[in-house]
C-alpha cells in the first residue's frame, strides 16, 4: 500500500513537472465542460418551470383546426362547452405576436379576463387593471428594458382598429423572479387584446377546467358533440383538445433525450476537445519519453509507470471537471447566466433581465468527469505505454 501511495505521489509530481501542459489540459476541459454543464443546468431549470406551467394551467386547451393547422375559434363556443357535464369553468384566451417600438421589438400579447383576478398580484409590480378607458398593459422585464418603459408610461397607438385606436398605459411590470416566458409578454384584458388585433369574437384557445376525473369524458364530449361554426360561415370547425396529460408526456424522460440536438453539438465539441487534449496531454511530448526512460533505467516497472500516468490523468481530469462544475454554478447563480443565457434562451438579452432558472444535478456532472477522464487518460496513458515498453536507452534518446 505504501508503495502504491508513493507511486501515486509521483503522479502529482508529474503534474508539477510540466505546469504549462497541465494548465492547458485543465483549461481545455473547463472550456468544453462548463458551457455543457451550464446548458444542462438551464435545461433542468426550464423543465421545472414547464412543470409549473402544466400544473397551474387549465385542465384542457381547446383550439380549432383550420386547413390542417391550429387556429382561433369563436368565443360563442364558451357557452356550449360550459354546458357539458364535468366542466367547472371555461375561459377564452388570446395569444398573438405583435411588434412594438421603432426597432420592431418582438412581443407576445396575451388577452385574458384580468377582471377575474385581484388588482394586485404577487407576480406583478404595479397593478393589473383599474377600469380605465386606456388600454392597460402589464409587460415583461425584457420588453420594459428595451422600450424604456415603467409603470405609468404611455404608449401611442401601435395597432389599427376599424373602430379607432386608443392610447395604452403600462400599469404593471412582471417581477424578475417570474418564469422566463414573461420576458416579452404583454398581458391585458381579453377585450383589449381583441381590439388590438381587431378580431372581435375570436379566441386563440379556450381554457377548460373540469371536476376531478372528468377530463377524458369532457375531452371526448368536446370533440364529438360541440359544433362550432366560424364567423360568417356554415361549416362546422373541428376542434383539438390538449389535456394536461398530453403536455406532461412531452416533458423529456431521460438525460439523453432531454437535450436532443444540444447533446449532439457538444458531442462535436468533445470530439474537437479530444484532439486538443491528446496533443496537450501526451502525444509528441519528448520530455515524457526521456522521463520514463530514466524511470525505467532506475528500476521502475511498466505497470508502475502506467499507474503514475493514471494518477496524473485522474487528478488532471478531476481538477478540470470540478472547476467546470464550480464555474458553471457561479456563471448561472451569481452572474445570472450572462451571455450563455442569450445563447440557449432565444429572445433573451446578453444579460437577462429575469432570473435564469437552473439546476445542476450530479448525473451530468459525473458524466462530464468520466468523459474528461477517458479523454485525458487516453492521451497520457498511450504515450506513457509507448515509452515504457521500449528499452530505457531507446526512450531516453
Amino acid at each position: 500500500m505504501r508503495t502504491f501511495l508513493e507511486i501515486s505521489r509521483t503522479g502529482l509530481v508529474a503534474i508539477l513537472l510540466h505546469p504549462l501542459r497541465s494548465l492547458a489540459t485543465i483549461a481545455a476541459l473547463v472550456v468544453v465542460l462548463a458551457p455543457y454543464l451550464a446548458g444542462l443546468g438551464l435545461s433542468r431549470g426550464i423543465e421545472q418551470q414547464a412543470e409549473d406551467s402544466i400544473r397551474f394551467g387549465a385542465d384542457l386547451y381547446v383550439t380549432a383546426r383550420w386547413l390542417g393547422r391550429d387556429g382561433p375559434l369563436p368565443v360563442a363556443a364558451v357557452e356550449e362547452i360550459r354546458k357539458l357535464e364535468g366542466v367547472t369553468d371555461v375561459v377564452p384566451r388570446i395569444v398573438g405576436r405583435i411588434v412594438l417600438g421603432k426597432n420592431s421589438q418582438e412581443a407576445i400579447l396575451v388577452g385574458v379576463p384580468v377582471e377575474r383576478f385581484p388588482p394586485a398580484l404577487a407576480c406583478v409590480e404595479g397593478r393589473l387593471y383599474n377600469g380605465s378607458r386606456l388600454n392597460e398593459l402589464v409587460i415583461g422585464t425584457e420588453l420594459a428594458r428595451h422600450l424604456h418603459l415603467e409603470v405609468g408610461s404611455l404608449l401611442p397607438p401601435f395597432y389599427h382598429n376599424a373602430k379607432g385606436e386608443r392610447l395604452s398605459q403600462v400599469v404593471g411590470l412582471f417581477k424578475s423572479d417570474v418564469p422566463i416566458w414573461q420576458a416579452n409578454l404583454v398581458v391585458t384584458s381579453f377585450a383589449t387584446a381583441a381590439a388590438i388585433f381587431d378580431q372581435e369574437g375570436l379566441a386563440t384557445d379556450l381554457l377548460v377546467s373540469c371536476r376531478p376525473g372528468y377530463q377524458d369524458a369532457v375531452r371526448a364530449a368536446i370533440v364529438d358533440t360541440v359544433s362550432v361554426r366560424p364567423p360568417g360561415g356554415n361549416d362546422v370547425l373541428s376542434l383539438r383538445v390538449t389535456t394536461r396529460d398530453d403536455l406532461k408526456a412531452l416533458l423529456p424522460a431521460g438525460l439523453l433525450h432531454r437535450e436532443g440536438i444540444f447533446n449532439l453539438h457538444f458531442l462535436l465539441a468533445f470530439t474537437l476537445a479530444i484532439l486538443v487534449i491528446l496533443v496537450t496531454s501526451g502525444f509528441g511530448l519528448s520530455e515524457r519519453r526521456r522521463e520514463i526512460g530514466i524511470l525505467k533505467a532506475t528500476g521502475w516497472q511498466t505497470d508502475e509507470v502506467l499507474l503514475r500516468s493514471l494518477v496524473e490523468s485522474f487528478l488532471l481530469s478531476l481538477a478540470g471537471a470540478s472547476l467546470a462544475i464550480v464555474l458553471a454554478f457561479a456563471w448561472l447563480k451569481w452572474l445570472n447566466g450572462i451571455w450563455i443565457g442569450s445563447i440557449f434562451l432565444a429572445g433573451a438579452d446578453v444579460s437577462p433581465s429575469f432570473r435564469v432558472p437552473f439546476r445542476l444535478t450530479p448525473v451530468p456532472a459525473l458524466l462530464g468527469f468520466v468523459v474528461s477522464f477517458v479523454v485525458v487518460m487516453s492521451g497520457t496513458l498511450y504515450s506513457s505505454w509507448r515509452a515504457a515498453t521500449v528499452s530505457p536507452r531507446e526512450a531516453m534518446r
Binding site: 446548458g39 438551464l42 406551467s53 398580484l121 422566463i180 390538449t242 403536455l247 481538477a319 464550480v326 440557449f344
Partner: protein, 114 residues
C-alpha cells in the same frame, strides 16, 4: 527533505472537488422552490410557456406547443431536416411535437412516395 508543492497541489485539487461535490449535493437535495409569484403568473395567463424560446418570432412550438403543436420549420423526412429550425437546432430542451405532430389523430397525412 521532501517538497511541499505536491501536497499543496493535492490539497487545492481536493478543495475544488469538495466544493463542487458539496454544491451538487445541496442542489440535489434541495426542493424546487414553489414561489408565489410563479404560481400567480401561471394562474393569470392560464398556463403559458414550455420551451426555451421567449417570443413567437421563429418557432411558436419552442415557446409553447399549446400555441402550435409542431415546428413549422421541421423539414423531416429530409435527413437532419429537424435541425433547420434555428431554435430547435440549438435547443437545450427538446420535446416532440404535441399530438404526434401534423397528421396525427386520423387527420390527412402527408403524401408518401410508393
Amino acid at each position: 527533505m521532501r517538497s511541499t508543492a505536491p501536497t499543496i497541489l493535492l490539497a487545492a485539487i481536493l478543495t475544488v472537488t469538495a466544493t463542487a461535490a458539496v454544491q451538487l449535493l445541496i442542489e440535489a437535495r434541495s426542493e424546487y422552490p414553489q414561489e408565489e409569484s410563479a404560481v400567480s403568473f401561471q394562474r393569470l395567463v392560464g398556463g403559458l410557456g414550455f420551451g426555451p424560446a421567449l417570443d413567437l418570432s421563429q418557432c411558436p412550438c419552442t415557446f409553447d406547443p399549446r400555441l402550435e403543436a409542431a415546428c413549422g420549420l421541421d423539414l423531416e423526412p429530409v435527413p437532419a431536416g429537424g435541425c433547420f429550425c434555428p431554435q430547435h437546432g440549438t435547443s437545450i430542451f427538446y420535446y416532440p411535437p404535441l399530438h404526434g405532430g401534423p397528421g396525427a389523430h386520423g387527420e390527412a397525412r402527408h403524401a408518401h412516395l410508393p
